[in-house]
Amino acid sequence: MVSEELEWLNSYGVQFLNLFQKETFYQSFSQIDKMVSELQTLTIYLAFSANPESEKQIGSWLRDNLSTEIVMDVKLDPSLIGGCAFIWKGVYRDYSLRSKIQTNRAQILTSFKTFMAEKTK
């Protein structure tokens, strides 16, 4: 076991680790499993691969502003181009650049055509 993991386990204290005795092992795990299943998952799609530092920042912002009982699932989706999208309580909300482009597709195309026409004059 690497030292980082040992440090993480020790951070829970002796009282927590004592829950995992021979007699209580299965019961404790099923209780934890039940608690985890009750947690809400927030899936975040990012256009770039977030480093641990960024993930930590997002996580602490969520705990401070939304709830401490939340599971964060960060996924990579380069097709977003920029911005982010997330899934919360079964609803996907797309705040990405891809979504903006798709919404304003006609307008962007018109501007682009006008620009090209002026340039070729």
Binding site: G90, Y92, D94, T103
Partner: protein, 483 residues
């Protein structure tokens, strides 16, 4: 900002997937996975959504499904005529899609049947062109008539004859739903309909046994949705569901996979509802509701002639009559191999005209008398003249109703031909004479305009005596032609 409902696969079992999420999803909504697998919502519980997959593929727990903004529906239009489609309305006959989509409409597959106010009394006969059916067990426009019988008893060829014969009526649209048939059988049905020209007014909804059960399950619903479209356009629609025994087995498979409680013969408790819910979409409709009719012929194949099975008795209970096909009659050369003594039509007789009805009554009574006397005749060497006459007439009726495949007999010709049983035409001849000259008389009726008019006028008569007297006038002429 784009908003879309999504759900994660909790577990999957073959074609069944349970999803978590999708807070406002409804029954029959379509969902699609990230890998492009489509499915429809079959049940919604407090904590999960039950989805039946329409495409074959592997679903792993945690896989994302998105809600499409569509429900189970198909695109309806005139373009469907002459096409073979799957239950989702996708043409599978290799022909190109129609470019004219201006009149096409989307319609849900699972709609409520029209209520009683939208319906009207059944008054018109659905002419099959098959003498035995039109005379003895008539089918009416808007009737639900079960086609039940053993394997290889000629049910499919009868149904194909029925579709082919509808070419004479331009206002009729035939819809043939193949429910989980072997691919070769589906192909062969398509080829026969194409080669006879019957596809001109036919739509085939085809599912083969290699399709996924949820897709096969939808075939009858699609057939009715297509039928309702044409009925609302004033057409008389014939819906053939071939067969509902397979449909019941497919529904049983889906229900058992979904952990529904099994009932009798392991079928789920709502199997009667599933079929009756379909059957009640048939009927004859008022002009305000389109004015057309939907005649339904569900098919049920029996196992070794066992008529008392769960599904067959259910279907008998929800239809307006049944045609019982028997393999032994077919092996005796009877075509169609319908056992008239145990077949019944509860609606058709009210649509026959008076002459047809009188003739049918006389023939039915003759067949019943002959059946009784035939048993006695085995024990007696010499029979009274009257008994011999009845037995002979029964043989004549059996021979006259033996009809070649793909032949259409108009009602007037049927009355003319069967009416000859009660004249002196065939009494002193043997049965081979009837067999030889039946075709001659039919041919004469087609070619001789005077005789054809005479046959048409027979329909204005009232009683069997009037018919016999009228036919006796032409018997000498026929005797000179027949050899």
């Amino acid at each position: 900002m784009a908003v879309q409902e999504v759900g994660y696969a909790l577990s999957s079992n073959d074609f069944l997937v349970y999803l978590d999420g999708m807070p406002t999803i409804r029954m029959n909504d379509l969902v699609i996975s990230e890998t492009g697998l489509r499915g429809w919502v079959n049940a919604v519980t407090a904590d999960r959504v039950e989805v039946l997959l329409l495409d074959e593929g592997i679903v792993t727990p945690g896989q994302l499904f998105r809600r499409t903004n569509q429900n189970l529906s198909i695109l309806l239009g005139q373009y469907l005529i002459g096409r073979v489609i799957n239950p989702l309305g996708v043409p599978i006959d290799g022909k190109r899609m129609s470019m004219d989509v201006s009149t096409n409409v989307h319609s849900e597959l699972d709609t409520a049947a029209p209520n009683i106010v939208m319906r009207k009394f059944i008054t018109d006969q659905f002419v099959t062109g098959i003498a035995l059916v039109d005379t003895l067990i008539p089918i009416a426009k808007g009737q639900r008539q079960l086609i039940v019988g053993d394997a290889h008893s000629g049910k499919s060829s009868f149904l194909i004859d029925l579709i082919v014969n509808q070419q004479t009526n331009p206002n009729t649209v035939c819809i043939y739903a193949c429910v989980g048939k072997p691919v070769t059988q589906v192909r062969s049905i398509m080829d026969v309909l194409e080669s006879t020209g019957a596809m001109k007014n036919t739509v085939v909804i085809a599912t083969s046994s290699s399709d996924l059960p949820p897709l096969i399950y939808l075939a009858p619903q699609t057939a009715f949705t297509v039928a309702e479209y044409f009925q609302k356009n004033g057409k008389d629609v014939l819906v053939i569901l071939d067969d509902l025994g397979v449909h019941a087995k497919i529904y049983r498979e889906i229900s058992l996979t979904a952990n529904r409680s099994p009932g009798r013969e392991s079928y789920p408790g709502d199997i009667f509802y599933q079929h009756s819910h379909l059957m009640e979409r048939g009927g004859n409709f008022k002009l305000e509701n389109g004015g057309g009719s939907i005649t339904v012929l569900p098919v049920m194949e029996l196992n070794l002639g066992d008529f008392s099975g769960y599904i067959s008795t259910n279907l008998v209970g929800m239809t307006d009559g049944h045609l019982m096909f028997k393999a032994n009659l077919r092996s005796q050369g009877r075509s169609p191999a319908i056992d008239t003594s145990i077949s019944v039509s509860r609606v058709g007789r009210q649509t026959q005209n008076r002459m047809q009805n009188s003739l049918a009554q006389a023939i039915r009574s003759l067949l019943a008398d002959a059946e009784e006397l035939q048993t006695v005749s085995f024990f007696s060497a010499e029979l009274p003249k009257e008994t011999l006459l009845i037995i002979k007439r029964k043989q004549i009726v059996e021979e006259l109703t033996r009809q070649e495949s793909m032949t259409f007999l108009p009602i007037s010709h049927q009355v003319f031909l069967l009416g000859l049983t009660f004249t002196e035409m065939f009494i002193n001849q043997d049965i081979s004479y009837v067999n030889r000259n039946k075709a001659v008389i039919i041919d004469l009726l087609k070619k001789d305009a005077n005789l054809s008019t005479f046959a048409d006028n027979l329909l204005t008569l009232k009683t069997i005596d009037d018919l016999t007297n009228a036919l006796n006038q032409v018997v000498p002429h026929l005797l000179t032609i027949c050899k």
